[in-house]
Symmetry: C3
Subunit: 229 residues, 3 copies
């Protein structure tokens, strides 16, 4: 699928994404007061679990687990978090941007891996999305949070869009280098826009008298309208 | 295993079960205040995770993930929950009956799939039960509950009985259509009886001075006896 | 890998470890007020999940699920816990020693299984560790705790050391009986020392003004020094 691509470039991007995801896992571990081992495990979980889940669901042996470079990168991310977590907490913005880059790479390589194994377009979108968000879901389950990606923020939607662009291009017979780049760029930019404007996916329309959900821009606008009326 | 069966009928039953399980997942998502994406994910998890876990444990590529009909059904269940959750909350009874039908179909098809792949009878019972209850366990973990099927109610026992009937019949050389129907019917009716009479599996005998567990019929009867004595 | 070994001895040790892990799962189930089914499920999860996860990650069908002896042992552990949990709670020490033996057996057989399937040394260490601690992590997730092995105590480190001894010996061309025994012994003794002296893996250095973590010997010593100064 990504044959037109320079394999070294893909590897480097993938390792950068894995490292960024590892930092996010390590920080969650520090916040949950885990010990050093737990912090490294959480870094590894967030960096690798999405791709491992994808491979298990496709029915192939997980690739990252057999590649020392990925293991070294998540181990390094865990140790860096242990040592530098106060600096990382202050540098939320750069970490978020790196995380968005990781999401963009993962959704595209995830979808491409699925297409390489002859799965359909819809399955490729699902597996690309799982590659992108699976690690974060497991992170939240392990530190006993309801997965944030299921609750709020614009995190899964960019991944779905990026994977969809790759799968649709493949479906249409375009297997070149252009559409994966386009998919990753779309995912990256939408994710950044979501961070910048605090966008959220809406919840179920609340007709049962439940109090309104904590919401982003739209919610704030609605509340303002309510107050002024 | 289910060769005597009309494949279309099995498919339809399986899709109905998947839809019912999807509704249960979607409702859990609405209650946990997830966003639209989270609600659809929870519907997919409850509808598909049991069968996917079964396939991974057998060592075959998950079938439902490669079948657009299952994906469409769980997606539909998620969207229906988003739009109609107040109506679904009011209609607990029909939803519970559909869920019981799903459990009945899943435990039988799960056990049959295991037997088709030459696993033993005990393994077939375990995998049939996992097919039936796995999605609900994952649903509760994701919304940060202790899985209800492990705590209370008569949910796993009907699935075990249904799967046991199928596995025992296979062991005895009966591979026809009768015993799967019997197993599904037994599971369905025992589950309905459990709902109707609020039956529970007892907990460990409480000799350590722990206060008694909240219990169903039997517990209420015991409490009444205690008060009157 | 463990070819020099008496297979019956390995099986017996493995079943003893599975039983000990099953007791730990059953006790967690009793404490979380699960019903009888839930207690047996938790015993099975802790006894089997580590090895099943290892097999899925290697890409082979889970072996224990196809072996009635393992299923009988975890089922038995669950039932024993149900009946005898007050006695087991009082006998924490013997149960902990059995659990340490289980950890020692699991990390060694886990690493050996990975090496048998031609994975590298680092992967073998990771998979040996997962075999040892995976069940306990899943146990804690199911009863809604942050996994204790990620937070405190000296539990994963002994498993890593045991698996490392096996993998390093294999790497160096020693495939005999000596190093697996040595690895298991090292894991067992370090785990016991950890229990005896309440050793903990340190957390991330706390430079952000977070209050100090609850700690073992080292922490107590530090607090004493602080008070006396």
């Amino acid at each position: 699928m990504l044959r037109g691509f320079d394999p070294t470039l893909i590897l480097v991007l993938d390792l950068v994404g894995t490292f960024a995801f590892g930092l996010s896992g390590g920080l969650a571990g520090v916040r949950a007061r885990l010990d050093l081992f737990g912090i490294v495990v959480l870094a590894a979980v967030v960096g690798l679990a999405g791709g491992i889940t994808r491979d298990v669901l496709i029915g192939i042996p997980p690739a990252t687990l057999r590649d020392w470079r990925y293991l070294a990168v998540v181990g390094g991310a865990g140790l860096v978090t242990c040592l530098a977590h106060p600096a990382l907490e202050r540098a939320r913005r750069p970490v978020d941007v790196m995380d968005a880059a990781g999401l963009a790479v993962f959704c595209v390589t995830g979808a491409a891996t699925a297409l390489d194994h002859h799965l359909g377009a819809v399955e490729a979108v699902i597996l690309g999305t799982i590659t992108g968000i699976g690690g974060g879901i497991l992170r939240d389950v392990l530190v006993r949070e309801i997965p944030v990606v299921l609750r709020t923020g614009l995190y899964a939607i960019p991944a779905i869009i990026g994977a969809t662009i790759v799968a649709a291009a493949h479906q249409a017979g375009h297997d070149g280098i252009v559409f994966p780049v386009l998919g990753a760029a779309a995912c990256f930019l939408i994710r950044l826009a979501g961070l910048l404007f605090e966008l959220n996916v809406p919840g179920a329309p609340s007709l049962t008298g439940l109090p309104p959900r904590p919401a982003g821009l739209l919610g704030r606008w609605r509340r303002r309208r309510r107050r002024s009326s």
